[in-house]
Symmetry: C2
Subunit: 329 residues, 2 copies
Amino acid sequence: MKIAILGGGGFLGRRVADRLAATGTLGGRMITGMTLFDIAAPPAPKAGFPIDSLCGDIAELPEAAIPTGTDVVFHLAAVVSAAAEADYDLGRRVNMRGTDAVIDACRRLVAAGGKPPRVVFTSSIASFSGGQSATLDDSAKQVPANSYGAQKAAAELFLADATRRGFMDAVSLRLPTIIVRPGRPNKAASSFFSGIVREPLLGLPAELPVPDDFKVWVGSPNSAVAWLIHAAAMDTAPMGLDRSLNLPGLAVTVGQILGAMDQVQQGASALVARRPDPAIADIVGGWPASFTAARALALGFRPNEGLVDVVRAFVADDLEPTRRDRGMS
Amino acid sequence: MKIAILGGGGFLGRRVADRLAATGTLGGRMITGMTLFDIAAPPAPKAGFPIDSLCGDIAELPEAAIPTGTDVVFHLAAVVSAAAEADYDLGRRVNMRGTDAVIDACRRLVAAGGKPPRVVFTSSIASFSGGQSATLDDSAKQVPANSYGAQKAAAELFLADATRRGFMDAVSLRLPTIIVRPGRPNKAASSFFSGIVREPLLGLPAELPVPDDFKVWVGSPNSAVAWLIHAAAMDTAPMGLDRSLNLPGLAVTVGQILGAMDQVQQGASALVARRPDPAIADIVGGWPASFTAARALALGFRPNEGLVDVVRAFVADDLEPTRRDRGMS
């Protein structure tokens, strides 16, 4: 089977590519080729099958990014929340025109006699509002409070419609806030959820802009990759018209995240300074803090591992690479 | 105040233009100018203020269609359900690129120092699924079963986001199936809901493709115009992030529609032939047949008049013009 990863140079795209390169199979079928596409040509992992790496603008997606015979498309390319909020036109171009281009590429494959490819799309809980007290079930409607969330919710509608029309076979995954992200602190309002773990484990101070009892819906990088791969191979027939899923993440408080870190490295949370920031609290406080995700569980998506395991996985997989990337060792 | 009507040549656009021309005011304020825009230049009604009539492609909306100083935009231009289903690209172009163009036009007005214009958008109950047994409340999520509905739901998201960003002040109205439409039978799956009243009252036979106990959510042309005008002048502050409304239509059966017609013209329903059509029943059977519309009622939208009044209004306002248009008198 042939795979295409759009956004193949990003945080999750690289991990999915690495995982598929390592296993050589997806859903029990041999992988025979992979195409990686991003704004800069993504690094190709070592694999037992050929990997093409391409760069370009997703809104002007080249045909080679989803070549004839592609079975599975991971559509992970996006302008994320802070950037889509800062630049409306850029968000619309990448998040909407990019999704239109993916639909058109799949239509061309089908028009040429191919099977509708499975498309796994990363949507986000930022497409919901509701706030700290909300526990949303699978019937909850999306009322986005940011342009990124509005664009993701609209893309879900277009992908579901393209599925109904036979252009593709889409599954949209509304990812939780992912912790622990490697790399550096960034301007995303949610950056601190990873920062309060990553920075202290690097021996660096971190700032916490919300109270310790602040609730957040999280998922780990390992779970995100596992969910994406499950979505690529699962039976979609039970989904019907609704091709979008809330995932079985973890409803936790910031205090519980810090507690898990201290279990892995005693005293690490002493490096976390409480610096209340109403602007950040206002943004992240609008996101729902809990989901039931019954539908995803019934479709075989595995619940996220516990917080201590999330921190341990970061230490095992990402701490040294992050240290290296940041010139700390 | 200045008004722009996009889709000003359509069934509802012409009625809104006529009504505003006749009253000369909107929400208690004097109308000082109106612009009508459609694919062909709409006829301008007689009015006590200047009316410009323009034609063009909504996806390439000319600046003159929403001129500087516009206070209210009625965005009624659309490719409707059957056409959007038959031609995916056309539906995407008109329903999505057209809505983007409306957003960009409003952004330009605001960037030039203007007030965000009120934008009244016609969405549709075709953005929902659920079927005959569904009674949807205001928290129901949209799971469209057709491209038109997906495009309308996505446009709602973009207009709500544009509102949050300060580009406009949008209200999206999810119109029920409108009966009684004047004119001729057409290929829309819902055409028969009007046809079973209009045709017999013209003395012509009509076909009924569903059982008499088939349920449908309807609104009249008069209520639709009243809802659009109320949405143009109402206080939107209580709406918050969710700028879309289900409207207080009528949950009726086809048998009740025929009964109302017979009350207005005895024996008219004898011209209705039962011709079960599973293809049509399948499409219209997917639409929800009832809504609670509590939010719209709380915001001052008036409930639809009863079925007998709906039929009487058709006879009073539309029967002779329809007869004339069809060369029957």
